[in-house]
């Protein structure tokens, strides 16, 4: 996790000198008090990461990186490579066997030979289509169906070679057409095994039987997916694929916003307690009143007013440890309100910025001698010469920079995007003629996991741990639970069976299917 000093390209770092007047946000002012400052949390950025938290995070990241690196350092994952090599060898041996069994041809068996050739071609194409794909995942236990298919291929090849060796070599079978039929038989058997492979590996799990509810641990977001008959490990792979697309990216800074904001501002806002003994938090009821709510940002006036009010109200109550429900509710309402205000400002700023830019017409591209003809359209006169999309992006970017920055701050996304990334995105939007709302869509929400530019352990390869009570090669059943873990994020999955539906039929009889009006009071006289 970066701090502002580490990564000067970040938005926060770039505009830091503009934030001097927001005193309560700048932790740098603590440096001015260096000789008397023994603050327990050495927070150096507004994201709220203190030194010990940083150490904890870096340790976890190092552990995850080491695990990934050990697999990457060797160039490939040994377990995966072994399985691939074995299956490729076996498949190749089985495929070449019919060809090797043949000798020189005669006229009578040409039909069979042609059909043999076509069957081999179909087998080749089908095998390439189905089995020569990049694997999606490597699983902890043996993939039973794949082993079954490989075993069948091995048995068939072995049996055919056995019969071939006995009949043709030992007993010198001279009828060539029967040898060709033998080879055709082997090809047929391989084709049927391929069919079995398709059904077992690809089709069996397509019909939905179970619903897996996936619950993410630190923030409680959940989704539910229908799956078919699968083993637990294959279901876990499916869950991870859906997780990458459906879930919002996990932002650990959002979780700490409440806790650290309270502690930090308790230090800054009120007078401090320095405990000589270890382990003191921001205790004392006077310190409990300082809470910035939500993201801990925003205009100083309203929050300072609130501090005074809250200090008197909550002073008598609990200390810095527990937070009452009313406090949480109030904080969340305030956060929502400020979030909506900043979002409105961001949308307005983006629309103004995009209004400045439009695609150059042909006459503008041609040169300045055509300009006098457009004098009547005063508001649409171009300013300057036509420029590339990147230059246009650079020109209009400062108008919305501040609004975008403040919005990213309040949603705790500013460690995620650098100025270059934002400029690149803006260039793309201008280049393709997208609107302002399309541009800011990326920044409005946390976005799906697969688009998170700072996903842990890289984008190509991720390491997850599967925790399960029973063996992962067992197939799914109602009530099975398993957990997938990567660092801080835990995905808890529960399997429920989708019930059997018994559909009935109801027929409309047009003669009896009539309607009458309903009046609340109608009397017949």
């Amino acid at each position: 996790p970066p701090t502002d000093s580490d990564n000067p390209n970040e938005l926060g770092g770039l505009q830091q000198h503009q934030q001097q007047q927001q005193q309560q946000q700048q932790a740098n002012q603590d440096d001015n008090w260096g000789e008397t400052n023994t603050a327990l949390t050495g927070a150096t950025s507004e994201t709220g990461m203190s030194a010990d938290e940083m150490a904890r995070y870096s340790r976890e990241l190092d552990a995850a990186a080491a695990a990934a690196a050990s697999a990457d350092a060797a160039g490939f994952d040994c377990g995966r490579a072994m399985a691939t090599v074995l299956s490729v060898t076996l498949g190749l041996a089985a495929f070449i066997s019919p060809l090797v069994m043949l000798k020189e041809c005669s006229v009578a068996c040409e039909g069979k030979l042609i059909s043999l050739a076509f069957r081999l071609l179909i087998l080749l194409v089908a095998t390439w289509c189905l089995f020569f794909r990049r694997g999606r995942a490597s699983m902890p236990r043996v993939y039973i169906f794949r082993v079954l298919i490989l075993f069948l291929i091995f048995v068939i090849t072995f049996a055919f070679w056995l019969f071939y060796g006995v009949r043709v070599w030992q007993y010198q079978e001279s009828d060539y057409s029967s040898i060709v039929e033998f080879a055709v038989g082997l090809t047929d058997a391989l084709l049927f095994v391929h069919y079995l492979g398709v059904v077992l590996l690809e089709i069996r799990h397509l019909q939905a039987r179970y619903a897996i509810k996936v619950l993410r641990s630190p923030d409680g977001e959940s989704h539910i997916y229908p799956v078919g008959e699968l083993s637990i490990q294959r279901a876990a792979v499916l869950v991870l694929q859906q997780y990458a697309v459906d879930f919002n990216a996990f932002n650990p800074y959002l979780e700490q916003a409440y806790a650290s904001a309270r502690n930090r501002s308790a230090h800054r806002r009120s007078y401090r307690f320095y405990d000589v003994d270890q382990g003191s938090q921001a205790n004392g009821s006077a310190a409990a009143g300082g809470d910035n709510g939500g993201g801990g940002n925003g205009g100083g006036h309203s929050s300072s007013g609130r501090h005074q009010r809250r200090g008197s109200a909550a002073g008598g109550g609990g200390g810095g440890g527990s937070r009452s429900a009313a406090d949480r509710f109030y904080d969340e309402c305030e956060y929502e309100r400020r979030l909506r205000k900043r979002r409105a400002r961001l949308v307005t700023a983006a629309e103004e910025a995009f209004a400045h830019v439009r695609r150059a017409t042909n006459s503008e591209l041609m040169g300045p001698q055509h300009l006098p003809q457009h004098m009547s359209q005063q508001q649409q006169q171009p300013i300057g010469k036509p420029m590339s999309a990147y230059e246009a992006a650079q020109t209009v970017f400062p108008t919305m920079l501040r609004a975008l920055q403040k919005y990213l701050r309040i949603t705790k996304q500013q460690p995620r995007y650098t100025t270059d990334m934002v400029l690149h995105h803006l260039t793309n939007c201008i280049h393709y003629g997208l609107s302002a709302k399309a541009f800011i869509e990326r920044y409005l929400t946390q976005g799906p996991v697969v688009e998170d530019p700072r996903a842990p352990a890289g984008r190509k390869r991720q390491t997850w741990t599967l925790l399960c009570d029973c063996m992962p090669s067992r197939s799914l059943d109602d009530g099975v639970q398993f957990c997938l873990r990567q660092g801080d994020v835990s995905l808890f999955c529960t399997v429920k069976r989708i019930p059997f539906f018994s559909l009935g039929e109801e027929v409309f009889d047009n003669k009896r299917h009539k309607f009458v009006l309903r009046l609340n009071s109608e009397t017949s006289v």
């Binding site: 009006l517 309903r518 009046l519 609340n520 009071s521 109608e522 009397t523 017949s524 006289v525």
Partner: protein, 145 residues
């Protein structure tokens, strides 16, 4: 705006007819005096009353007056000229404006000969709504003019 329809207020005279069952015999009911009296039919259905919520009426009558909702064919009401959606203002000189539904029913059942003051003018007409996008929606509205 369509042209104003024909509204009128008419006075109708109605003679009730005794109800006959499937064998042609008169149906007798107990009357207030304790004896048996033939049951008399008028031959229409009405809705409304000061105590009714007119939002529950599908016809969309504009007020809580007594409206005829159905006239049986071949009945004295039809012979007298009563039509559906007529509003009954007076029965034998009694004003129905502030009577509830049950009271009106009792009043109509009590009398043998009815002299009805009826207002006729309820009409359904259709309007066309066209919004700026050019699509048209037909709305059927019931208005008492």
């Amino acid at each position: 705006m369509p042209s104003s329809p024909h509204t009128q207020t008419v006075q109708l005279q109605l003679e009730k007819v005794p109800e006959r069952d499937s064998h042609g015999q008169r149906v007798m009911v107990k009357d207030s005096a304790g004896g048996l009296a033939p049951k008399l039919l008028t031959g229409f259905r009405f809705a409304g009353g000061i105590d009714q919520d007119r939002q529950y009426c599908p016809y969309g009558y504009p007020d809580c007056g007594i409206y005829v909702t159905h006239v049986y064919s071949g009945s004295p009401a039809e012979k007298a000229g009563l039509r559906v959606h007529d509003k009954i203002l007076q029965v034998n000189g009694n004003n129905l404006a502030f009577l509830g539904h049950a009271q009106v029913a009792a009043l109509l059942n009590r009398e043998t000969q009815l002299s009805l003051l009826v207002h006729r003018g309820f009409q359904r007409f259709t309007t066309q709504l066209s919004d700026s996008l050019g699509s048209e929606a037909r709305v059927s509205a019931s208005v008492l003019l």
